[in-house]
Amino acid sequence: MIHVQNLEKNYTIGTKSYNVLKGVDFKAEEGEFIAVMGPSGSGKSTLLNLLGGLDQPDNGSITINDESIHTMSEKQRTLFRREQIGFIFQNYQLLPNLTVEENVGFPMHAASKKRTDIHQTVSNLLNAVSLTGKEKNYPSQLSGGQQQRVAIARALSMDPPLILADEPTGNLDRKSGTEVLRLLTTLHQEKKLTIIMVTHDVYAASYADRIILIKDGLIESDIRQGEGANTDVMANILAKLNS
């Protein structure tokens, strides 16, 4: 489903140039739940932004469902993102002046879907994320966990096959974080969604069935659950993170 080849990205700040991604290669199959881990500044968020078409690579290619997003125009990338990708951000990124149902239905409105369809989808999604009854609330009236669930519902509104989540539990306490992770796991299992989740939380990563570890702009290791006992995987990752 996703094929990333020799991905490179540089940033220039002032007169200094930073090589954030130095040639990343990996493939992800449909229905995989991948956690991308790595220390701060390792390039994991940059990788996610490139996968979502929020940014353009300096070199290399990204193919999602046989479509090369690195060659697309900005408009094509937006339309592709709207149809094919659901985005979940660490700080939820809800529109503060729209109600919960307006936030969830926002991508569908932008895509000019029928009002009845939007209403039905939003209702189903809010039910799925256990927020029925909160339709008319504004984001500021919800807890962090609830806001992230609204963001998940919004990410699912166009029924995309791919979810990109950037530290989805980063701003949440353990209890709310666990709820969000369980929700993502359920959706992954029920809808066969492909999920790529950037996190530096080992606990969050333990919900994924594959963990890609990035360090200094390169993939350090790519471990699948089941290749060893969970505890061994985690110990291995912790060791690599701390090395």
Binding site: L54, T78, R81
Partner: protein, 821 residues
């Protein structure tokens, strides 16, 4: 430390700092340009009067037009008279060899002077010698006539043709202000100077003068006047103070007011932009402010930080704005003076402009910043740090109630009701806009982007409403002024007829005797003739001396052929001349006088103070400056021995005016100083109106354009404030074109609100003005061309104004936008 922090904050947000600077520059430079233009115009007018009168202190005149030249010699013996100059004005016709000219195009006013070296003259010699025998021409006249120094010129005099030469050519000066073209010569005489003795010889006026102008030592004017009266000792001559009052011969007050309104509007928009910018800066930095408050900063310390930023910006803005203001002022003054169709030599005056611009440039930004700065100092720490957004602005009930009350006052039949109406509209505008936006939001054609635009406008309702209101005012003002012009254009003839006094006005060189009146009545086509007196008298106001033209009136003639008119028919019937005891003041003089009907106005005639009871205020087009009308008998007692030099003629057959004019010019070519038919005056004014109208349309264009700058700022602030949200919208669904559509719709909605309410306000203003005005020339007319231009301009400007913010939103780095606080 404080200045350093402020500077760092300003340089951190370069675009915003630049925008705010631009706002201050716009306001300060406009104010400077406007104030300096008024200052320069006043100075130029006074200087022109000085040049015309030679900066004289007193004149000696005669009730019989001419008097003995030895009076001039006598003045030189009086202690305190620094210099004196004798002069005579005479009418002649010039023959330059130019073919196909009418007689009135060759009329020339010759002025004979006793000396060309007097300090009472200020002539700039361009070529030739002033003291040489011959005529002295102004530069522009010599150019039109195609003559140089030494060229001969034929002059037709009462006693036949004389040939003379051009002795000198001098710079254009008000004393020699003639026509600017042959066409212009139909309404204005050419002017030339020559030695007094030459003129005396040409007109057989040996040892006579018409006027003696004097310059006094600045010692005791009263003493000098009394010495002069004693030395001259001639009952037929009198002394008259020369009054240099720039208001006396023109009515530039309306123009000044209009300029101040434009400058004020620019300053207001500037303050508004600053308010917006500062408000957004504070919203952006509210976390920083909350942290500062948490660690112990007091509200006044926070205020100080922001006010220091404003002060820094103001100082920078003023420093940049002043040179721009000089350029702008110079442009404005050149444009203004060139529209007067006369060559004006002027140097920009800017003493007050400089002081006021600096003061306003510092004061207004500080005042504009008070509200947002106070808001900053009162930020709720918990709400801010927890990032709880501010609730949607609620309609202020008190504002609505006040607005409705003001609108109610606005509907009362009173001249001030328009201001109440404006104030009421301003108060109600956010509410009105809230309802229109909410209604538009429900319309199906508007689409999702349109709905988002409506939501955004509702969230920034006050700010957006203020901008739309400025546009609405600009459109309302444009429609109102345009409607007045349309009314005036439709009624020019009617307007002139109500104070022209007849069909033809004649001013003569010699006094008009009863025999002359009889002869005039015998001219073919003349129905009736009325001769009357006019004289300039001085009038002491609290702070200065002014000059007022007193006109004698025959109530019977005036009833049929008025020289003035009353505001209402009721006044006309109730006010009579009260058995000749009272005086009717022209509205311009009445307003300057500042008294009430029934009170006395004190005038000085022949240096004697006379009290005249003011019995009413009248309107007249007969005189551009101050005018007062007295019944004939009363006039004779106030100005004894005065003779008539003016006549009003009515014609028995329509269309005969031109023939009568030509007949009179042919029979008395040298006695008629001025002759003008009402038809000529109508044509002259009809020609002048489109030019003035174009100037106003230009101003409307500028005002709408300036409103556009305000809309750019408002939307840019809206976009900057919502950059993160726009980033989210782009990240999850919105294409660039959808972002463009949203923000352009926001701009368009501001524009539409401004246009719609501007038109509504305009129509109501025109209607109320028609109801309340006392001027019957003002009718309810809808200027459709201005209406169309306003709609088109409003839409185009608001769309263009929205393009820049929309582009900024689209081009802003998406990842940065998502991190934007």
């Amino acid at each position: 430390m404080l200045w350093q922090t402020s500077w760092r904050n300003l340089t951190r947000k370069k675009v915003r700092t630049l925008l705010t600077l631009l706002a201050i520059i716009l306001g300060v430079s406009s104010m400077f340009a406007v104030i300096s233009t008024v200052e320069t115009a006043q100075d130029v007018t006074t200087k022109r009067l000085e040049l015309y009168t030679g900066n004289a202190d007193y004149s000696i005149l005669s009730r019989e037009n001419l008097f003995a030249e030895d009076v001039l010699a006598k003045t030189k013996d009086v202690d305190g008279v620094k210099s004196s100059l004798g002069l005579i004005h005479k009418q002649a016709y010039v023959d330059t060899g130019q073919e196909g000219l009418d007689q009135d195009q060759t009329r020339i006013r010759l002025t004979g002077l006793s000396s060309f070296n007097s300090e009472l003259l200020s002539l700039t010699n361009v070529d030739g010698e002033l003291n040489k025998e011959g005529v002295i021409l102004p530069k522009s006249t010599a150019a039109i006539w195609n003559l140089s120094v030494g060229d001969s010129i034929d002059v037709n005099l009462p006693e036949g043709k004389k040939q003379t030469t051009v002795a000198a050519i001098v710079g254009d000066t008000p004393l020699l202000e003639g026509p600017t073209s042959w066409e212009d010569a139909k309404n204005k005489s050419w002017r030339a100077l020559l030695p007094l003795d030459t003129l005396q010889e040409w007109y057989s006026l040996e040892d006579q003068v018409q006027e003696v102008r004097m310059k006094f030592d600045k010692k005791s004017t009263d003493q000098i006047v009394s010495d002069l009266e004693r030395t001259i000792s001639d009952d037929n001559v009198y002394l008259q103070e020369v009054v240099l009052d720039e208001k006396q011969s023109n009515q530039l007050e309306e123009l000044y007011l209009m300029l101040y309104v434009i400058g004020g509007l620019a300053m207001f928009i500037s303050a508004f932009i600053l308010y917006n910018t500062l408000y957004v800066t504070i919203v952006e930095r509210k976390n920083e402010i909350a942290v500062m408050k948490t660690i112990g900063y007091t509200p006044s310390q926070i205020k100080k930080i922001f006010l220091t930023e404003v002060l820094t910006l103001s100082v920078m803005g003023i420093l940049i704005a002043l040179p721009i203001g000089f350029g702008l002022g110079s442009l404005l003054q050149t444009g203004l003076f060139s529209s007067f169709q006369t060559d004006f030599d002027f140097s920009m005056k800017y003493q007050w402009a400089l002081l006021l611009s600096i003061a306003l440039g510092l004061l207004i930004p500080l005042v504009a910043s008070l509200l947002p700065v106070t808001h900053a100092s009162r930020l709720d720490i918990i709400k801010t740090l927890k990032n709880i957004p501010e609730s949607k602005p609620k309609t202020n009930k008190l504002r609505v109630v006040l607005g409705v009350i003001m609108l109610g006052f606005g509907l009362i039949d009173h001249a001030l009701s328009i201001f109440f109406l404006f104030f009421g509209f301003a108060l109600l505008f956010p509410t009105l806009m809230k309802y229109t936006i909410s209604s538009i939001k429900r319309m199906p054609f508007i689409g999702f982007e349109g709905k988002m635009a409506c939501n955004n406008l509702l969230l920034t309702l006050n700010r957006s409403a203020n901008m739309a209101l400025i546009l609405a005012f600009a459109i309302c003002l444009g429609l109102f002024v345009s409607s007045i012009f349309t009314s005036l254009e439709n009624n020019t003839k009617k307007d002139i007829a109500r104070s022209f006094g007849g069909d033809i006005q004649v001013t003569t060189e010699q006094e008009i005797t009863e025999q002359d009146v009889k002869e005039l009545k015998n001219v073919r086509g003349v129905d009736d003739v009325y001769s009357y007196q006019e004289t300039d008298v001085t009038w002491d106001t609290d702070d200065t001396t002014r000059q007022i033209k007193m006109v004698s009136v025959d109530p019977e003639w005036n009833e049929k052929h008025p020289l003035f008119y009353f505001d209402t028919e009721q006044e006309k019937t109730s006010i009579a001349f009260e058995n000749g005891k009272g005086v009717l003041l022209g509205s311009f003089a009445f307003d300057e006088w500042g008294g009430k009907v029934g009170e006395d106005i004190k005038v000085r005639v022949n240096n004697e103070v006379q009290s005249l009871k003011v019995i009413g205020k009248v309107n007249t087009n007969h005189h551009g400056g101050y005018a007062a009308f007295l019944e004939n008998d009363r006039y004779d007692t106030i100005v004894p021995g005065s003779q008539p030099y003016h006549a009003l003629l009515t014609v028995s057959e329509e269309g005969a005016e031109n023939r009568i004019k030509n007949d009179l010019l042919a029979t008395s070519p040298f006695n008629i100083l001025e002759i003008q038919t009402m038809r000529e005056e109508v044509i002259k004014q009809e020609r002048a109106l489109p030019g003035v109208r174009a100037l106003f349309n230009g101003l409307l264009f500028i005002t709408i354009l300036v409103s556009g700058i305000g809309i750019v700022n408002t939307l840019l602030m809206n976009v900057m404030e919502r950059m993160r949200e726009l980033g989210v919208m782009r990240a999850v669904a919105f294409t660039s074109s959808q972002i463009y559509k949203t923000i352009l719709t926001e701009g368009l909605l501001i524009g539409i609100n401004g246009i719609v309410f501007g038109i509504i306000m305009g129509v109501i203003t025109i209607y109320l003005n028609t109801l309340t005005t006392k001027d019957e020339m003002i009718e309810f007319t809808m200027p459709f061309s201005t209406l169309l231009v306003s709609i088109l301009m409003g839409v185009i400007v608001s769309l263009l104004a929205a393009y820049l913010p929309a582009r900024k939103a689209v081009k802003y780095d998406l990842q940065q936008a998502l991190k934007h606080e």
